[in-house]
Amino acid sequence: MEEVRERVISLPRLGEPAPAFKAVTTHGVLKLEDFKGSWLILFSHPADFTPVCTTEFIAFAEIYPELQKRGVELVGLSVDSVSSHIAWVRNIEEKTGVKIPFPVIADLSKEVSLAYGMIHPGQSATATVRCVFIIDPNQIIRLILYYPLTTGRNMDEILRIIDALQATDEHKVATPANWRPGDMVIVPPPNTQEMAEERLKEGYECIDWYLCKKKL
């Protein structure tokens, strides 16, 4: 009987420490721990010199100042060499005038891609799909997005997620669907009957005891 061997790769999950890495990038050798104390967006793209990825790199560069205001660093990654990355970011600047200000990991060994579950063989056996990992200042994974090769990412949503996560951490609240900064936030549901009765006196805007909102 033929033996079937399958390599099981465990994917990182929300709330768990981000897998440590040491990688060659366009800004030198970087370790995950170099970003301790900052929020970090680690994103992968399928390949350099490809059209959707080029539009995404320009878009990420455009939101970079907004990310900086929020204390967020950005790191790209693909299974390409550092020379290819350098040539591509120089080409983007030459052709569009947009300078890519963030480092890009050259993951030729696929070490980082595999640790973060960025290669989805159903899409491509060799290229990373469009992943976004949002890692908090304590280096805990707070959000993961996966996009297929054919769909470019939405930068407004990425900024909205950062705003929502930071509001949650600062004010111990949750954010409703389609929340934007300035909108009302959700007060965490009560754990006891007493808390449920008390919250109705707090002046929150409540639909019922389990769904109360307040202004920040």
């Binding site: 800004h27 030198g28 970087l30 370790k31 970003f35 900052s38």
Partner: protein
């Protein structure tokens, strides 16, 4: 390498970090503020400068080595 070129000479950002060390700044946070380099770049740069023998870490702070001091004059 970001701070040391393949010919062994410090790059512009490497020089900025060496000058910050000369002025007595020793923690990555202080150097980042003084040089306008992102903290992650300073942390990785200090590793490179240390490996190149231009800086040394003592009690969590970095200092110039004799060679580093000679290099920036």
């Amino acid at each position: 390498m970001a701070c040391i070129s393949p010919d062994g000479k410090p790059t512009e950002s490497g020089m900025r970090m060496l000058h910050a060390l000369k002025s007595g700044l020793g923690s990555p946070e202080e150097i980042s503020k003084n040089t306008d380099l992102p903290l992650f770049r300073v942390r990785s740069g200090l590793r490179e400068l240390t490996r190149a023998g231009l800086a040394i870490e003592k009690n969590g702070k970095h200092e110039l080595t004799e060679e580093g001091a000679k290099l920036i004059g």
